[in-house]
Symmetry: C2
Subunit: 103 residues, 2 copies
Amino acid sequence: METKNVLDALSALAQETRLEIFRTLVRHAPSGQKPGELSEALSLAPATLSFHLKELSHAGLVDVEQQGRCLIYTANLAAMTGLVGYLTENCCGGNNCTPQSPC
Amino acid sequence: METKNVLDALSALAQETRLEIFRTLVRHAPSGQKPGELSEALSLAPATLSFHLKELSHAGLVDVEQQGRCLIYTANLAAMTGLVGYLTENCCGGNNCTPQSPC
DNA sequence: TTTATAATTCTATAATTATGGAAATATGGA
DNA sequence: TCCATATTTCCATAATTATAGAATTATAAA
């Protein structure tokens, strides 16, 4: 994963509301959720939710798919894997730093 | 790692200059570096560097130690391990999502 | 004790980001 | 076509964050 993408992903996740949205989507993977459900579940104004979903989407952390008049947002787990990979590689100068084998 | 700490760590790293500072400190672990060295190496105004080091420090990602009139900053690799652990656990609903065994 | 150096804190300014109401867009059904 | 619903975009405002010059603090050496 490129440093630019890593920065985008980190700043997307570095916000309470967005981290919560992302975690919710992860729990609902792989089927995803509609904005209406998320808005209801997290008590967010539609415009606010839409703003944050766009941020997550631009960062490549969520995907959108249209189904009729609804949209389905899903967590992009591959992007998260890439982020974790980058952090792992840059965390101990190339050594493994995952919880399984801490540095 | 607590969600609050995760948010602090993510926003600390979600900034180009700070990610660069942190990566530099990781490459110089475990001996660490003085602000003067970092300021020189990364071409940062002392006040700007100090601001970012404080952010990283508040997020628990770097440690400081005083040596005479100098300070030594070191990357806190355990904190990074904790962050990676949190992301891993919240990335696939508890399943392993590290690069070694992608989801 | 005086001076030079290391680094931080203070401060003002600029830039970015978040929030949510209102308007706009788009889809499906009556 | 017309209407109801889902969602986004536009916009203004508020809040947060970044930058760097100037002043301050602290240490060590002369």
